[in-house]
Amino acid sequence: MSETAQTAPPTDERVKEMSSFRKSLIRPELGGICGTILVFVFFFLTARDSGMFSPAGVMNWSVVSAQFTIIAVGACLLMIAGEFDLSVGSMIGFAGMSIALLSVSFGWPVWLAITITFVLCMAIGAFNGWLVVKTGLPSFIVTLAFLFILRGLTIFAAIATTRKTIIGGVRDVAEGDWLAPIFGGKIFTGFFQWMGDHGWIETFVRGSKAGQPVVEGIPMLIVWALGLVVFGHIVLTKTRFGNWIFAAGGDAQSARYTGVPVNRVKIIMFMFTAFCACVFATAQVMEFGSAGADRGVLKEFEAIISVVIGGALLTGGYGSVIGAALGALIFGVVQQGLFFAGVESSLFRVFLGVILLLAVILNTYIRRMITGEK
């Protein structure tokens, strides 16, 4: 043993020196980075004069991107752990309705309504995960069932208690609540007012808001998005739990043999996805001041598309939270950018389908490069 340990190993003539270009290619974020640059260049050239890059314009697509990011982080970690959650959209509708019903119709304090909703959603997420783990069924089917169950329950609960599918008045009851601003508030408002006062950013010139800056501050939604990205990225790449996420999605049986608690990891990831959906819903309810039973439709697919554009493999075991966030940014910028550029909005879906296809093909190619499959 010692003789082999001391001498340097002879270099294998068959191991080719990898070019740094090729090395950088097999990063999951690569597609996301290229896509982001491309998208910004494109809109900078075509829609520069439309106000897309004015403070209000930036805020517009940032908020939309942040929304995508919040659900994409959850979907990303879950997909790397080898599962899907198609009930995210219905969960958003459910969570929003739960908050509105508890606070407006039942008259409970808003902080209590939000807390109970979070607990409820994460419990449903855990149940989803438990079902998947126990039955061994594809999560696609189990969560598809919950897509319908949750949506139906949401509409039923709204109509049975209030005879309406939209419940308003959340903003009034949230007045003075300590938890609501964490989701619906804005930060750095003083700073933006100060910038407005100095004429660095535009201010309203007429109406009741005269003198106030057009961008009042950074919405908490964006803070949540950034916070979740940083949290998700650190957990995934810098902790042992992150290694377990990769292992659970890469090959659950191999992971079990080395002692990774695969079932626990998967259930926790389902709960985290539910948590992210709940953050999205709470922020949305606080922003609109109302909850609608049809909120969040198709969000599960938008989350999955963001994650795939961000370089994660649909089969699990590979991906990046940063990539997913970039995917969400591309998504948001293009959706709002086409509006600024005056392009017919239905073309957005065409674009989405095309970019999704390209991303999946690129990912498959990258996967082959990593694993050396032919």
Binding site: M1, T4, V15, M18, A247, Y257, T258, T371, G372
Partner: protein
């Protein structure tokens, strides 16, 4: 002779009406390679799964380091020092060698009260261990998918040894490998044995068994046909025992002794 680290006495395992093992006794001794031979369906896999805590024996006793043992879960057996390396399920191809090496045993470093994965330590240890096993890595972040089958087995064995395995169970490590890769794995087995680790080597290839084995136990239809020591038995005899004697003897005539 050193004391056996594992003694399996009259192990029986029934799956409903099927008797997979009908009283098998085997002693595993530190520093020796114990080859478990048998044709498909002979009960080799059931036997090692009983040894590694996956299955519970229906009847019979298992002694580990002299004490009666009853592992409820594979994790218990692993904690006691019994590691199993499965043929296809040793590694996760998409993950880096270092991440695979420490899978389930990640080293952590406390920074600001939070436990982080100590990548630096993991990378260093992985490179060092791989060097010892004679595998040249481009870097610790190289994906396992780029390694050959033999190299993957070697990484899995190195991993088990690094984490303090006293008994290493290898489930058909060579059956899917080419000649050169097989030689590498057999060399690894030899190295591990010399460290004083007990190796249980499951195979149905007599030549691979003869290359590294100290003891040979043949299983046939859930029964053991006894254990032979190195030098007491010829490859031909082993082959005959595995095939139940009859058919292969007649086949051998017609094929001119090539089987």
């Amino acid at each position: 002779m050193t004391k056996p680290i594992i003694q399996m006495k009259n192990i029986e395992k029934h799956f409903g009406p099927v008797i997979a093992l009908a009283g098998v006794s085997v002693d595993v001794i530190p520093g020796e390679c114990h080859c478990l031979l048998g044709d498909n369906g002979a009960g080799k896999s059931t036997f090692i799964k009983t040894m590694s805590g996956v299955h519970k024996a229906t009847k019979g006793e298992i002694y580990f380091e002299g004490n009666e043992m009853n592992f409820d879960r594979p994790r218990d057996a692993m904690a006691a020092g019994i590691s199993t390396v499965y043929q296809d399920l040793a590694m996760i191809p998409l993950m880096s060698v270092a991440r695979n090496f420490f899978m389930g045993n990640e080293p952590t470093k406390r920074v600001a009260g939070i436990n982080f994965f100590d990548h630096k330590l993991a990378n260093e240890v992985t490179m060092e261990e791989m060097r010892k096993m004679g595998i040249n890595l481009r870097g610790p972040d190289q994906a396992v998918g780029t390694l050959s089958g033999g190299e993957r087995q070697t990484v899995a064995i190195a991993r088990a040894v690094h984490f303090g395995a006293k008994v290493l169970i290898l489930d058909e490590p060579t059956s899917a490998l080419g000649v050169r890769q097989t030689a590498n794995v057999l060399a690894t087995v030899d190295r591990v044995r010399k460290k004083g680790i007990a190796v249980v080597f499951i195979t149905h290839n007599v030549r691979h068994a003869m290359a590294v084995g100290d003891r040979f136990t043949v299983l046939d239809r859930g029964k053991t046909l006894g254990t032979a020591k190195r030098g007491e038995i010829t490859p031909e005899e082993l082959q005959d025992l595995m095939a139940g004697g009859q058919e292969l003897a007649t086949l051998e005539g017609s094929l001119g002794g090539t089987v």
